[in-house]
Amino acid sequence: MSIKGFKKLAAAGALFFWSVAAWAEYKLNLQTPHTLLGEKIYDLHTIITVICFIIFIGVFGFMFYAVFKHRKSVGHKAAQFHESTTVEIAWTVIPFIILIALAVPATGTLVAMRDTSEPDLTIKATGYQWKWGYDYLKGEGEGISFYSMLSTPRAQIDGTDVAGRNANPHYLLETDNHVVVPVGKKIRILTTAADVIHAWYVPALAVKQDAVPGFIRDTWFKAEKPGIYRGQCAELCGKEHGFMPIVVEVMEPAKYTAWVGAQQKKVAAAKVDPNKTWTPEDLKAHGEKVYAQNCVACHQATGMGVPGAFPALSGSKVVNGPKADQIRLVLNGKQGTAMNAFKHLSDVDLAAVVTYTRNNWNNKTGEAIAPADVKALR
């Protein structure tokens, strides 16, 4: 090869490697798995894709050979054969054998995936429109319970803060409360939902399980390495489907124990004294928080709802009518609409939010609802 030719080749090679480097910015494959099972699935995907690719090259090698060599314009005359039992049998049997070879490792992996027995920690994940609720049911941390909502500011989403969005590495994949679990432990996740079907999906941990209202499903993972793993709801669940992420934080066991301690202290501190008498101001202030977490997505901060879809609360007949009707509606929801039952909230939360809606915007009932009122109607 001449020097000139070599230079050209080197330049082409450099260009190639540069473009590979540039493409490294683009994710082309499954996320790096962080569980052993995830690695198995990753390998399974690679094997199938490679087999498909080889068959693809083979079949279309034939096709393109025909396209170039057997064309009329190069003077090729058509043969008239149109049957061959031997060939037909061969290309029925060979793919069949390949498929069996694929199904064997897939079967082993699937059986392992579905074996949720003997977990170290069991957490229930409940899908709500549109947030996740977590209850630590069994294992270290039993009794911990919290909601987890998208923490990306609205301004970044609606475009008023584009700079903030571009500077946010976890845009739409961040929550106020992380699901914290210890490393190297088998974590069983029970999924269910309060309203419609959601799906609990964390790619790097290789789990996806639908959360079906009224039923319990389960899945499990065992993270190999501490870190923060992010996923999203994967089943269309209405308006804010794209905005209910899942963030799992895997910790070293000692750190996890410390986290559990801190959580339990927080729970104790936040525990509402059942004998506390709530002033209307306290209720309203607490109600505003409850409203922001549960109601604002549909009924809006202005209380005006979305015309046609979600009714306004400001000036609403229900909100300004008898308090018992409103409490019942909030408790039980309204069948056939997006208004779900909110029974899962505490008496105090419900009393507070009803008080808030009855004394905010254009609503001036002047009434304060006592937690006991809610309790009586449950």
């Binding site: 996320q31 057997h70 064309r71 049957e83 590495p169």
Partner: protein
Amino acid sequence: MEAAHAHPHDHGHDDHAHKPSGIMRWVKSTNHKDIGTMYLWFSFTMFLVGGIMALIIRSELFQPGLQIVKPEFFNSMTTYHGLIMVFGAIMPAFVGFANWLIPMQIGAPDMAFPRMNNLSFWLLPPAALLLITAQFMPGGGAGVGWTLYAPLSTQAGPAMDLTIFAVHILGMSSIMGSINIITTILNMRAPGMALMKMPLFCWTWLITAYLLVAVMPVLAGAVTMTLTDRHFGTHFFNAAGGGDPVLYQHIFWFFGHPEVYIIAIPAFGVVSQVIPAFSRKPLFGYASMVYATASIAILSFMVWAHHMYTAGMPVEAQLYFMYATVLIAVPTGVKVFNWVATMWRGSLTFETPMLFALGFLFLFTLGGFTGLVLSITPVDVQLHDTYYVVAHFHYVMVAGALFSAFAGIYFWLPKWTGRMYNETLGKWHFWLSLIFFNVTFFVQHFLGLAGMPRRIPDYALQFAEFNAISSIGAWGFGLSQLLFLYIVIKTITSGEKAADRPWEGADSLEWTHLPTPAPYHSFETPPVVK
């Protein structure tokens, strides 16, 4: 037929005589060619409506953040894009082909039930109107996805009721069309036209029609249960009343998976006519093609729950559905091998119909391979409800069914209109469609692998580059289809006169026994098939 009975001595004028003029010709038509034409124009109109919805989706997804539409409207667009493309564009397109071609290919004068044929077409426009006006109901269209999963569909607004009725009407239309096709093929073949001598297109439609008759009532049942859950106090899909939301999914996919083949099998039929014609060589393995098509149809009833691997079912059921699903790859593979073997040692030319048929073959196979990847349950659990699935089914539906429909249109347009399309423009249409299709959908495989869920109006920043590329491709693909409209109109108005048999290798009855353009009433006396 009516004309023939009224004026038995008037055969020479069949071409022009006795069709009402003006709009009534179309409203009251019982002629299979007129009805076929109406099906095809209706389907193209719906293709544009569904396409505009797709462009709204892709425009919103061009960049992260919510720029153009609200999330609820975005959900409505994904829902009606799917419904309109499946039920309004692709299915009617192939019924249009069936109407035009089946009588001509089996040597019959018309369809068996011409008046029912008229009704099955005229049910479509009201259904389309319901789907479109659903957007303007209080609360907007139902943003529940084209699969209409409960309980999201039971809590949706009044648009959902319009959608349910539209599905009912579309189902009635499909069932009537299928009865017509089955009866025509079984009873009206010319003497000597044995079933195993029929052009493969007729075979694929015979099998498809049976699929439709079997599963459209199932879909009607599923949406009726949704309707009664919404308004009449039943709890089929509500756990609080003893029902189960996942029941809906089982019923839906018992319809839904055969539906995939209802769309794909007639496309196989078109391609099986086009590839031999331009290879100048008979179709390889005719009998095995028929058997493979029938096996695919039968298997399609046994694999529905592979759409529900994450919904929750016993591991034994998951294993069964995985094994049954990978089995479908065998007959599908046979078909692909047969097409390639048909081309092998042929004398190939590459006019536009052949280009689209090859585009079909290449890209449909790619969609088949991603289907194989998805059939493996552990991998599917990772990829389910991500953009990988979106890419997969668009390879099957667009590069599969749509490309095959384009191949068919270019192939038969001369016979239908008596005029040739412009070959250069046809090739432009092919290459633009091919390139932009891949720009749009190939990158979506990567998005899905990286974990981007489908049906979200906004996404994390790591998905931004591929989404931007995909959106550019979508606009290119959409605009390329206007070229197709121009080509068709230009052909009808001022194309060159076409020969009776413009394609050297085409050998079914419509090419060998009928003049171009095909007369208004063909085969009043059946041809003799040897």
